[in-house]
Amino acid sequence: MSNTHGVLDYQRPAPDPRERVILIFSWLWVGIPAVWGVYHVVVDALKLFR
């Protein structure tokens, strides 16, 4: 089975469940502080429209 670029699917390594957990944790590690920071700025920015 090949995709549109001619690369065989069996060449793709099987997804590693541990890697997926690390990936989710990684995005939470940077995402939670970022969302917290953005929340504060959005609250400030809304003062412009009051």
Binding site: G6, R12, P13, E19, L23, V30, H40, D44, K47, L48
Partner: protein, 465 residues
């Protein structure tokens, strides 16, 4: 030293199952931390109240940090390519956190020079090394979307202040006593928190294995005219007209943006609110920082589709129109149009920062792109001085000559539009780098310049995500 062997470049090579979407998080862990620099002003008043230092004197701490950001990015780029991203990120974390600790000691000892040396010089080195450390790694992992990848990291630098500002205020409130504003202890707490936060990036970052490329992606057979598949060393790049044209492109784009960024709050107050709505003006500044951050990601991602040259052409032409239009919004008394114009302007200011690494990669290849990016950041330092001085001088000159405060911004806006026109010409003059500048050695040979060996072959491997 064996203890630090995990930092070495060859210990950073990814396993076949490594997911490349972990790289942006490693980069963000560094950039969200060092972006704290933009929030340093939250310490100005507490330091003034506690130590009695003048606000203008305290302002030198931030200025020194930005100067050393440019200096260290220019000086350490080649070293970064040699030792790899992990050691560079670790060094950045040590310098940045160390800067806070030395700064805390300076406050404790009531020594301003020690604060300057700590946060300004040592911390500034951390900023510069940290800023460039993930750039070439991201480009190597995302050859299909280099603009989006670097845009994501550089967006983090814009967003760092959003985290640091409420965090610093909260910590100062926690540590405040009857005799102290709590700044020194806040510095210590920030040093620890940021070090831990950045260590996540240090341990997460990986270099792709030689020959790696995203599954399903094949380099275009005929790349666009400006995009090279060859490589240019950092020293050779500086001998090309393209480097200096891009230096001016970045400098002029940043000058125009930074010049009005500091004036945004007084401008909206004097043009529309007549000094009656300071909270709304603060909200306007917050909205601009959101636009700056979002623009870093959106414009750089967009550049993957329309090309870097077209992206900067858009910045300059749209910027000229908007800067020239801003004075009319005052005459129309339309706050909405004024805000909209500035949101777009600031998004392009951020986009200018985040699109430049991919532009450099297009012109000079990936081999030394981190080092070349470091050298070109001196344009930022120059713009950081030039922009505010220009805007403040013109404004004061006009007010001294009897121009009403609310009208004094018009000439500034027209001048910024003129600067963007010069930037447009510089960008228009950019052509593909001549083949005589290309690195002709074997990039896989042991003696090849650092950073050369990674992105060469084309065997599908790793996660296609």
């Amino acid at each position: 030293m064996a203890l630090f062997s995990f930092l070495s470049r060859d210990r950073t090579i990814a396993t076949p199952t490594y997911n490349r979407w972990r790289i942006p998080t490693a980069a963000l862990a560094i950039h969200l931390a060092i972006g704290q620099a933009y929030a340093f002003s939250v310490f100005n008043l507490p330091l003034h109240n506690q130590e009695g230092w003048k606000l203008s004197t305290i302002g030198w701490v931030f200025s020194t940090a930005i100067v050393f950001l440019g200096v260290s990015a220019a000086l350490f780029g080649q070293w970064l390519e040699r030792v790899g991203p992990r050691k560079a990120m670790f060094t950045a974390a040590c310098c940045f956190s160390g800067g806070f600790l030395v700064g805390a000691l300076g406050i404790r000892l009531h020594s301003f020079p020690l604060l300057l040396l700590g946060y300004g010089v040592l911390g500034g080195f951390g900023l510069g090394i940290g800023y460039i450390s993930p750039v070439s790694t991201l480009i190597k992992w995302f050859p299909d979307r280099p603009g989006m990848a670097t845009g994501m990291a550089i967006m983090g630098f814009g967003g760092g202040a959003m985290i640091a500002s409420p965090l610093s205020v909260g910590l100062m409130n926690h540590f405040r006593t009857a005799t102290s504003q709590g700044v020194a202890l806040t510095f210590v707490a920030l040093a620890i928190l940021y070090f831990i936060f950045m260590m996540f990036g240090v341990f997460s970052v990986r270099l792709p294995r030689p020959g790696w490329k995203p599954v399903g992606w094949t380099p275009p057979a005929a790349p666009p005219r400006l995009v090279t598949t060859a490589n240019v060393t950092v020293n050779e790049a500086m001998r090309t007209p393209q480097f200096w044209l891009l230096w001016w492109v970045l400098c002029l784009n940043v000058t125009a943006g930074i010049g009005v960024l500091g004036q945004a709050s007084p401008m909206i107050q004097e043009m529309f609110f007549h000094g009656n709505r300071p909270a709304a003006a603060a909200g306007f500044v917050a909205l601009l920082s959101l636009a700056n951050m979002a623009g870093r990601f959106l414009w750089a991602s967009f550049s993957d589709y329309i090309g870097r040259k077209a992206t900067y052409t858009t910045f300059f032409i749209l910027g000229m129109i908007l800067y020239a239009f801003v004075p009319h919004t005052g005459r129309l008394q339309s706050v909405a149009l004024f805000v909209l114009a500035f949101v777009i302007i600031l998004s392009m200011y951020g986009g200018g920062f985040s699109t430049i690494p991919a532009y450099l990669k297009d012109l000079f290849g990936t081999m030394h792109v981190g080092a070349i990016h470091g050298r070109i950041l001196t344009a930022w330092s120059a713009a950081g001085i030039f922009g505010p001085v220009l805007v403040n001088y013109i404004r004061e000159y006009q007010i001294d000559h009897g121009v009403a405060k609310a009208d004094a911004y018009s000439v500034t806006m027209y001048l910024m539009a003129a600067l963007l026109f010069v930037g447009l010409i510089c960008n228009w003059l950019v052509r593909a780098v001549h083949a005589r500048h290309y690195f002709t050695g074997d990039v896989n040979a042991p003696g090849a310049p650092a950073g050369a060996a990674t992105p060469v072959l084309a065997t599908p491997e790793g996660q296609n995500v």
